[in-house]
């Protein structure tokens, strides 16, 4: 639909424009956002393949999981976008202090903080490699525990779902995290905790975390209206 452009000085209305309504990403989201996974080569570079390049500081980790529907079946056509801070807790974004002027708080080259993750069409399993983020400054001077922001789209999901992945091996930071503490049903907080897989994390290999997402039913993951 066509909308009038209202220059600033004419803008007296208190009625803002309405956000474009969401529609499901559908079963063929890969064509648009990860065409290699749809089965063809078209772009020189596909976006979202490298969350934290080799130059990024921090501990290397891998997150593995599946998304389950309300019947307990894995969702095999899901696409997840990842957005996270670097090991110092900073996002690569113009509003991060120091960004663009080379100041001490800008994030390092090669740290993108953003990635796209596709489930396996047969098993529904997905994984991504990154670095463990640092704690991030929250509202009112309170700091947030290390976390990775996730946005989940698929056929049957009408509006992309926002959630956060926290790390089970950060009990102290998690206990004081202002977002986890908002979850009234305390046992539901565990739905946001990625569990370290024992025996992983040698000098050569990344530490592996397991993080399953339940769209519905027992153990439904906490989703946010952000």
């Amino acid at each position: 639909m066509t909308l009038p452009y209202r220059p600033h000085f004419l803008q007296q209305s208190l009625t803002p424009l309405k956000e474009t309504p969401s529609q499901t990403a559908g079963p063929y989201v890969h064509i648009g956002l990860a065409p290699g996974d749809a089965g063809f080569q078209i772009y020189d570079t596909e976006l979202g393949q490298d969350i934290a390049g080799p130059n990024a500081a921090g501990d290397r980790i891998r997150v593995e999981g599946r998304v389950f529907d309300g019947t307990g079946a894995p969702v095999r056509d899901v696409l997840i976008e990842v957005w996270q801070a670097n090991a110092a807790g900073l996002y690569p974004h113009p509003e991060t202090p120091g960004t663009g002027d080379g100041g001490p708080e800008s994030t390092e080259n090669g740290f993108r903080g953003w990635g796209r993750v596709i489930s396996n069409f047969e098993s529904g399993s997905w994984s991504f490699d990154t670095i463990k983020p640092g704690g991030v400054a929250g509202r009112n001077g309170r700091s947030m525990a290390p976390h990775i922001n996730l946005w989940i789209v698929a056929r049957g999901i009408n509006v992309g779902l926002n959630t956060r992945l926290y790390f089970a091996d950060e009990p102290d930071a998690n206990a004081s995290d202002p977002v986890l503490n908002l979850i009234e049903q305390t046992d539901r907080r565990a739905t946001l905790l990625a569990q370290p897989v024992s025996g992983t994390g040698s000098a050569q290999n990344p530490r592996v975390y397991q993080f399953d997402i339940h769209l519905q039913g027992p153990g439904e993951t906490v989703f946010f209206d952000i």
């Binding site: 639909m1 969401s22 529609q23 064509i31 648009g32 570079t45 957005w83 946010f224």
Partner: protein
Amino acid sequence: MTRPKPTDYYARDRRWHPPAYAPDYKTSVSRSPRLPLLSLENTASEITGPTFGQNDIAVGDNDLLSNFARPGENPIGERILLHGRVLDENARPVPNTLVEIWQANASGRYRHKKDGYIGALDPNFGGCGRTLTDDQGAYAFRTIKPGAYPWRNGLNDWRPAHIHVSVFGHAFAQRLITQLYFEGDPLIARCPIVNTIPDPAAVQQLIARLDINETLPLDMIAYRFDIVLRGRRSTLFENRMEGN
């Protein structure tokens, strides 16, 4: 240490969007959270988001007429120019943001290994494109008008011609995927996915309009589709004191 002061985005009007559970769209039944979403005040995690530049894309990525076609050949179908602007709810342009689209070909067939529809694949059509908005928030694609296609929902359900659209904005809170439809298509009103949207005025916002002035004579028909992302409060006063 100084940190960015969160300037919050307007709360998403959930009544304008489809609900998670929309039983006439059958797949949503088992994929819809049933517990309420937890409302979160914006933090740095929501007011930041990935940024993209010209290095991320190539010239011609927004030309679906040529980005998969063999040299000297063209995809089959009605040639269209799809253009518009990305604005926020304050009607301000959203510049330098990534817009990605994907669609079926003129037969209603997707170039996807999971699509088994009888409609023919077009050897000259991939079906995806991407571009960055300019400093006025404007974007444009050249493509063909997609065909309608049947899908397994009701026994005789057909998707109206549509193009899937993905937009980032400048914050993770603005991230949006939607679908655009074409003015005058009788299948729009019958589509269970369109009808997940409760407000008919919101459906109108997803309909690209014939733009006769931008139509290129003897070449291609233009359709205009403007996209609105969440707007942002310009906070003059903090509403809570530090430490509260």
